[in-house]
């Protein structure tokens, strides 16, 4: 470590103003503070600080996403094997296939997103902010595996610049950056981003995996996609036409966006986030409550006009991106409600709206993304009401004492 420190100290002058590499100051600074905790000491106020910093916060979220990432790798390979009619499912080959499928996507989002972060940090003469560490992994996890790389790059660049940086960077954005990336893809390239053929990887990669041919009675439609187009109360089927059990949906061995199929892995992530106190339990709890409530309402008034109303409230939680949105999207502290009471209201409405869109809007088989984005927009309003209540309480106090 000493040698590394000495090396950094030696090359540092090159990156300072006047040095020949000063155009990369922010990059150097980013790596230096990543490797060594800065020695900056407090100059005003408290003399000691808690050891928690935004780097650790972000890394904890990334760690919480790891189970979903690994499961996504397995599931990507598994769906390919299954769709091709394979009889055996060799674990490591499937994992390797999934890894090779996701690697370029993660690489593209990180290169595009971090590249923009580095440039902006350099331009603003600020430190690099860590927010994109999380966003960069979230984006591949919530997109279908077949999303073309160039679209991913365009969408990432769009949302990092126009959703985050123009507002001032991490901590000032109104909308969840990862979700806007997905929404951008969804609305700009609907043909490539929805339908039955984007959720399963259908080609071999580096000699691994198989060609999946949709002509053979094989369908890569997600459960929610099938339900939206099927009749009342029909059981969703998996890629080769077998019925999907609740257990399958919980484990996540179903077609869907890369990292959001497994409710089990999302639960593991949720435990990590709640244990470390990084995510708000108020939000997660109330999103689930809202989803169950609206699922129950829809189920009680089930009608063939809206086939998704035949899903039980529990199935509503297990299918699609609901659980992932509850744990990783709705809890983004920057775009969620910030007040204690506000978090309950915000979370509950996310849950309600997600199921509302899912059931009563035939255009979109899944509503979690739009629900969170809608509530991102409304979160300041919810907080405004809570803040106003505090202000009114103070005013009343002044009046009674006067």
């Amino acid at each position: 470590m000493k040698a590394l420190r000495n090396y950094l100290n030696r090359v540092k002058p090159n990156f300072e103003p006047g040095g020949k590499l000063h155009a990369f100051r922010s990059v150097f600074d980013g790596f230096e503070t990543f490797l060594f905790t800065p020695n900056t000491t407090s100059t005003s106020g408290v003399n000691i600080h808690d050891s928690l910093d935004s780097k650790r916060v972000m890394i904890i979220v990334v760690m919480a996403l790891m189970p979903c990432l690994f499961f996504g790798m397995y599931n990507t390979g598994y769906q390919n094997w299954l769709g091709a009619g394979a009889q055996s499912f060799p674990f490591w080959e499937i994992m390797l296939y999934g890894f090779l499928a996701i690697l370029p996507r993660i690489a593209v989002t990180y290169i595009v997103g971090l590249g923009i972060e580095f440039i902006v940090a350099q331009w603003r003469r600020e430190e690099i902010q860590e927010g994109f560490l999380v966003t960069g992994i979230l984006i591949p996890l919530i997109c279908p595996i077949e999303t073309p790389l160039w679209m991913l790059a365009v969408a990432t660049a769009f949302s990092v610049i126009f959703v985050k940086e123009v507002f001032g960077g991490t901590g000032y954005n109104v909308f969840n950056v990862a979700l806007v990336t997905r929404a951008f893809l969804f609305f700009a390239y609907p043909a490539q981003m929805s339908g039955d053929n984007v959720f399963v990887s259908t080609r071999p990669i580096l000699g691994l995996g198989y060609n999946v041919n949709y002509a053979d009675g094989i369908s890569g439609a997600t459960p929610l996609g099938q339900i939206a187009t099927s009749g009342a109360g029909e059981q969703p089927l998996n890629i080769i036409g077998d019925p999907i059990s609740t257990w399958d949906a919980f484990l996540g061995l179903i077609p869907g966006s890369f990292g959001e199929t497994s409710t089990l892995c999302i639960l593991i992530g949720a435990i990590i986030l709640l244990w470390t106190g990084i995510a708000s339990w108020r939000i997660i709890l109330s999103v689930v409550a809202g989803g169950l409530f609206m699922g129950w309402v829809a189920n009680t008034f089930q009608t063939p006009t809206y086939p998704a109303s035949f899903l039980s409230p529990l199935d509503q939680l297990l299918y699609g991106g609901f659980a992932f949105a509850a744990v990783f999207m709705a809890t983004d502290p920057v775009t969620a409600a910030r007040t204690g009471v506000g978090k309950y209201v915000y979370g509950f409405l996310v849950g309600v709206v997600a199921i509302l869109i899912r059931v009563y809007n035939n255009g979109y088989p899944e509503g979690a993304m739009l629900a969170v984005l809608l509530m991102n927009a409304l979160a300041p309003l919810i907080d405004y009401c809570v803040v106003q209540a505090n202000i009114n309480r103070r005013m009343r106090r002044t009046k009674t004492s006067a």
Binding site: T37, D50, G131, T339, T398
Partner: protein, 444 residues
């Protein structure tokens, strides 16, 4: 039956280097300084010159806004230096102690509100109280709604002021009697749960649990009866109250103080009896660990205290010295990923959180400054009916209406110390609040 208030929000930091023995060592300072910056709201105008001989209690400076408000010399001696900073701002007046003369006021005449007020101003004790709004010294025209006295100190490693005031019941009673003339409301004395302090006639005793910041006078006020717009309250601590009482009884203001020398870099944490403004060199002499690390010598506690260095002075209102490692010489590899049990944090991702041990943190920020990302972190350690994040944002945007509406009149910078400690974005909250209060005062 005493009223009891249990605050659930807050945080007690478990630090190494607390005082264990009640023995008190006498230390005579070699220099004593009076620093006007320690008395916010006081604009100093010099009353003495270098070389003047002064007694304990002789005015050194008066307030430009109100001539009767004085800062006085805590010791008898000679004015050895008047140190000025940029734009000739008076930074400190330094006295070399000599002899033991003491100015005696005619306290017997102080029987009405006006005369008590004048006596307090002239004696230098007036400036030792604080008023809200603005967390500054009381203004001459103030008619405080209530006066809040705190007889507890919950700050990290602080010594219990109640033990220091134990033998001073008569003085405290006299102090309450005098202050009673200045307010039409109550005098509340905040004491810790199970306190041995006897009831004082004329004051209402309120018990608090000892979860920091429950000992802050402002936190106690907010939970007993918060300040509303247009109202004024005064706050002070039990030692200052005893000083006021002593002044009323004897005519002499007492500037002796007992200081707790604490912190992980102190050899033997101990109590020292000295005077206000004593020089740090004498107080810490031979008592700092010689481990080759850089030290931060703080006058006060780790949360609100001022790093003054070894050539600094004991600052008002602190009765504590804390010495911790500075930490600028540390090279910590990937500290953000650390699983080391010696990292101190309220977050459960750190191993140290689960160990019942005392920590010796250094002064590093432990991260970079960021925008406000996490929400609800401040609320956990802020026991007032105020939304701290929103108040801070209102202050940063200099939105006066919003600041008022969100309760800026109720707060002092010290109330935000714990918020600043836990903040993962490492914002300088106490500085922000102080600037906000000053801005508001200059605009209204």
């Amino acid at each position: 039956m005493r009223k009891t208030i249990n605050l659930r929000k807050g945080l007690n930091l478990n630090l190494r280097g607390g005082v264990e023995s009640e023995d008190v060592t006498m230390v005579t300072p070699s220099l004593v300084a009076v620093i006007p910056d320690d008395f916010p709201g006081f604009s100093p105008k010099l009353d003495v010159a270098e070389g003047d001989i002064v007694e304990a209690g002789t005015p050194l400076m008066h307030d430009k806004n109100c001539e009767s408000v004085k800062l006085v010399s805590p010791v008898a001696g000679k004015v050895s230096a008047v140190v000025r900073g940029a734009r000739r701002k008076i930074e400190r007046v330094v006295i070399a102690p000599e002899g033991n003369g003491s100015l005696v006021h005619d306290a017997a005449k102080a029987t009405s509100a006006e005369t008590v007020k004048t006596l307090l101003m002239e004696s230098g004790l007036w400036a030792m109280m604080r008023r809200r709004p603005y967390a500054i010294i009381p203004q001459a025209a103030d008619k405080p709604r209530d006066i809040f006295v705190t007889a507890m100190d919950t700050a990290p490693l602080a010594w219990d002021p109640e033990t220091l005031a134990a033998g001073k019941t008569a003085e405290i009673a006299a102090g309450v009697k005098a202050l009673k003339l200045l307010t039409s409301g109550n005098i509340y004395i905040g004491i810790k749960n199970g306190s041995q302090m006897p009831d004082i006639a004329g004051a209402e005793m309120v018990e608090f649990n000892t979860l920091h910041p429950a000992g802050n006078a402002g936190i106690q006020a907010a939970n007993i009866r918060p300040v509303n717009k247009g109202e004024v309250i005064w706050t002070l601590d039990i030692i200052t109250l005893a000083r006021i009482g002593a002044l009323m009884l004897t005519g002499k203001a007492d500037f002796e103080t007992t200081v707790a020398v604490t912190g992980s870099e102190v050899k033997t944490p101990r109590l020292i009896k000295t005077v206000d403004g004593a020089d740090m060199a004498q107080l810490t002499e031979g008592n700092i660990v010689n481990d080759g690390r850089n030290h931060r010598i703080i006058s006060g506690n780790v949360l609100t205290g001022i790093p003054v260095g070894n050539d600094g002075f004991l600052r008002f209102p602190y009765r504590q010295i804390t010495v911790i490692p500075e930490g600028d010489d540390a090279d910590e590899f990937m500290g953000w990923a650390s699983l080391s049990p010696s990292k101190m944090s309220t977050n459960r991702s750190f191993l140290g959180h689960f160990l019942n041990r005392a920590f010796s943190p250094d002064a590093r920020l432990q991260g970079g400054r960021r925008g406000m990302i996490m929400s609800g972190e401040y609320d956990k350690v802020f026991p007032m009916d105020i939304l701290p994040e929103y108040l801070i944002k209102a202050i940063m945007s200099r939105d006066i209406d919003q600041m008022e509406a969100l309760g800026i009149y109720e707060v002092a910078p010290e109330d935000f110390a714990l918020c600043e400690y836990v903040d993962p974005s490492k914002l300088e909250l106490q500085r922000i609040v102080r600037e906000g209060l000053d801005y508001l005062r200059s605009e209204i």
